[in-house]
């Protein structure tokens, strides 16, 4: 990373603060997604895509990525202060999550020159939306068992099979695909390859999947003799599992190099206070109920745990015994917290918790109930909470693998 002076950083920080103060959009009048997994309508998508482009063009996204590919070429600290400013003014999320947080870092770490020139800028300006093709209908948690076939034919791979739970699948231009190139490999992992795959070629079809919220979200993607250029191969043939695992490390924050900004909102338990103050039981505000207050303290503490864990994870002197611990537990703690606090928020609404999105009597137009239901996308996707426990138990505590 390039060197910098405190003065430069301070000036940059001041600029970022001013920019986000002025440019963070007001409430657009329709519900904005809390996470990139909740983008359900074109209206939401277009709004967020424009927002990401604006942030990038202002120089506050990818600030620490190499300038020759479209980044800002600055020290990582610059991006960090920009992200803080974005958070300070509660800006909307950035939609191109898979591009910014895992495809981008992966390409910069192990991609070819050609890859970097071709893809990085489109990731940053949201021109090229990326999606991830790991899970299959029969293999959700068991990624290593992926069966989608990729057969080499000239300069292409011919793809047949299906991927599921594809976030932004209906908007994506590219997919990072885990495919089986060798059905006869000595073990299931050795038969896998990792391919950068265009979504806009013949033979690729996406079908929207209806979520438990009643809305449409991610898709199932069907490949029928679809052709992906072989130069999209990451790592060698048969190294797909290794590349996929590296990708998941970016996703879990166990590897750095993300473009910056954020792809999901932090849960704010103080917002639940408002509900508790409004709802009434036996004529009194629920907030006066000592039991409710006690639970609110738990949630505020948990939010603070996440914030402090994040700050401590950047202090090597306080991470000597199990250096990866804080990074690897973040997904588990954050996603379960989101589920619980939204569930609690629903309960705060008294009889109004009977209502759902669209009813004039619904509190915050059903925001909390929908958020609770949506929260499962994160406790299930990206490695279920149960898988996260295995990962921490095995990779951090060194406990034996569960057979």
């Amino acid at each position: 990373m390039t060197e910098y002076s405190k003065a430069e950083l301070d000036e940059f920080a001041a600029g970022a603060d001013a920019w986000f103060r002025e440019n963070t959009p007001a409430d657009p009048g329709f519900m904005l997604p809390l996470t990139f997994m909740e983008v359900g309508t074109d209206q939401q998508f277009d709004f967020l895509r424009n927002w990401q482009r604006k942030v990038y063009e202002a120089g506050y996204l990818g600030a620490a990525w190499p300038s020759e590919y479209g980044g800002g070429g600055l020290h990582d600290m610059f991006q960090r202060v920009a992200t803080s400013a974005m958070r300070r003014y509660k800006g909307p999320i950035l939609p191109n999550a898979i591009g910014l947080n895992w495809t981008g870092p992966l390409l910069l770490d192990i991609g070819s020159e050609a890859h970097k020139h071709k893809y990085i800028k489109g990731i940053l300006n949201a021109e090229d939306i990326w999606c991830q093709g790991f899970s299959e209908p029969e293999n959700g948690s068991d990624l290593g068992n992926a069966q989608l076939k990729a057969v080499r034919d000239g300069d292409d791979y011919v793809l047949n099979g299906s991927k599921i739970w594809t976030t932004l699948g209906n908007y994506a231009k590219y997919m990072i695909l885990l495919a089986r190139t060798d059905p006869n490999a000595p073990n299931k992992y050795a038969g896998l390859s990792f391919i950068l795959t265009p979504m806009t070629v013949p033979g690729v079809e996406t079908r929207k999947i209806r979520k438990l919220t009643g809305e449409y979200g991610f898709t199932q993607t069907f490949f029928t003799d679809a052709r992906a250029p072989a130069d999209g191969l990451m790592g060698a043939e048969g190294q797909g599992w290794k590349v996929a695992m590296q990708t998941l490390e970016y996703e879990r924050g166990a590897r750095k190099g993300q473009a910056g900004g954020y792809i999901s909102k932090e849960v704010d338990p103080f917002a639940v206070l408002k509900l508790a103050a409004e709802a009434r039981r036996d004529g009194k505000p629920v907030l006066e109920d000592a039991v409710v207050r006690d639970q609110l303290v738990d949630y505020i503490m948990e939010a603070q745990s996440l914030a402090l864990n994040g700050q401590r994870s950047r202090i090597p002197g306080l991470n000597q015994d199990r250096p990866m611990g804080l990074a690897l537990m973040n997904k588990l703690v954050f996603t379960e917290f989101a589920r619980e606090v939204n569930q609690f928020a629903v309960a705060m609404q008294g009889s109004k918790s009977a209502y759902y999105v669209g009813d004039p009597s619904a509190t915050d137009d059903g925001f909390w109930t929908r958020s609770y239901l949506n929260a499962f996308s994160a406790t299930i996707g990206g490695g279920t909470t149960q898988i996260q426990h295995n990962i921490i138990g095995e990779h951090v505590l060194g406990l034996p693998k569960t057979r």
Binding site: S135, G140, R281
Partner: protein, 373 residues
């Protein structure tokens, strides 16, 4: 120390449980439950007619008014099985309206309406208001006397099955005091009812605008018994909703187990993984506790003190059991659990809706603390 009630099981309960188990299973397969989600009325009138013909609506109505003269205890197994199969009908609403008339109605009102309810007519209650308070005496809607006429004003919410009901029993302030008044379907202006969008898509509830509704003064239930009636209704409602949730808890656990026995990951049925198996056991244990509390409450429902305690405990445990079992069912179904097609969400939504109607776990526990400590 507060005396707690025991558990018993009457022959009539046993017979009704057997019949209801088979009937609800046969009439309400899940594809039918899902089909009715799109139906505006929300239930199948033919099945509702059958229920009337079987006399289930007459179970707890006195013989003097054409009923069977049994108690709430005998209704519990019926509602439990309806909840288990998510069989949608105005049964609970009608039963509550009948209870309002039995406990709080004048002889004339009871004689006029109860026989029709036994025969299969539907009715409901309109008690909830905008503030969303579960204390039923917190009433703002009112009825002004105008000679022999009562002119109603204000609004009611979460009026279940109102579109199917011939009678709606509404709580209003009369001369400043909470009172109950009978509104007939014919009294309703065209736009008095607005269907509400609720989290449980298998349920139907409505907002009711009282303005421009006038009824004769003899529609008032016995003013001297309003408080007792409202207290009684809250307990009956909580018991029946607990029954419905307990039945649903059993189903969602069975539904989850089916998946755990068919879905494979890492070469094993996922039910073999303790991270999935043990919480499923916890859900099952919670359900069995809920069922014990349910039939305990049914058994001692009419006892002073212990009846209310048992009922509120049953409501607490039923909500816990269903909410937890359904929440874990979504999780353990993995990606499929996150889809609308997975039934787990139906049960989770049911738990949220049920808890909202007459008091959730937290509310019941506060009441229990004052009753027990």
């Amino acid at each position: 120390m507060q005396e707690l009630g025991g558990l018993g099981f009457s022959e009539a309960q046993g017979d009704l449980l057997d019949v209801a188990t088979g009937f609800c299973r046969d009439r309400s397969p899940m594809d039918k439950v899902r089909a009715l989600i799109g139906d505006d009325l929300g239930f199948d009138p033919a099945i509702w007619r059958e229920i009337g013909e079987m006399g289930w609506l007459a179970i707890a109505i006195p013989e003097a008014h054409g009923g069977v003269g049994l108690g709430i205890a005998e209704i519990v197994p019926v509602v439990e099985q309806m909840g288990r199969r998510m069989l949608a009908t105005p049964f609970i609403s009608t039963t509550l309206a009948a209870q309002a008339l039995i406990i709080g109605g004048t002889e004339a009102q009871a004689a006029a309406i109860l026989p029709k309810l036994c025969a299969g007519a539907a009715a409901t209650l309109a008690l909830t208001e905008a503030a969303g308070d579960w204390d039923l005496v917190q009433v703002k809607a009112s009825a002004a006397r105008d000679g022999d006429t009562l002119r109603l004003s204000g609004s009611k919410f979460l009026v279940c099955d109102a579109a199917a009901a011939d009678w709606i029993i509404v709580s209003v302030l009369v001369d400043g005091a909470p009172s109950l008044v009978i509104v007939e379907r014919a009294d309703l202006p065209a736009d008095a009812l607005r269907r509400e969008i609720v989290i449980d898509e298998t349920k139907r509830s409505y907002a009711l605008t009282l303005d421009r509704i006038s009824v004769p003064a003899n529609r008032l239930l016995d003013p001297a018994r309003t408080t007792a009636t409202l207290a009684h209704l809250q307990l009956v409602a909580n018991l029946l909703i607990a029954a419905e949730m307990t039945g649903a808890a059993q189903s969602v656990i069975d539904y989850t187990i089916d998946y755990l026995m068919t879905r494979r990951q890492f070469g094993n049925l996922i039910g073999a993984f303790q991270a999935v198996k043990h919480p499923t056991v916890a859900a099952y244990v919670g359900y069995e506790k809920a069922r014990s509390h349910l039939y305990g409450a049914a058994h001692c429902f009419n006892e002073q003190g212990s009846g209310e305690i048992a009922t509120r405990m049953a409501a607490v445990q039923a909500e816990r059991a269903l909410a937890f079992a359904a929440d874990r069912s979504i999780q353990f179904h993995g990606g499929f659990g996150f889809t609308y097609d997975c039934d787990a969400q139906l049960y989770r939504r049911r738990a949220m809706f049920s808890a909202a109607l007459f008091g959730d776990e937290g509310y019941q526990k506060r009441k229990l603390a004052d009753l027990l400590l």
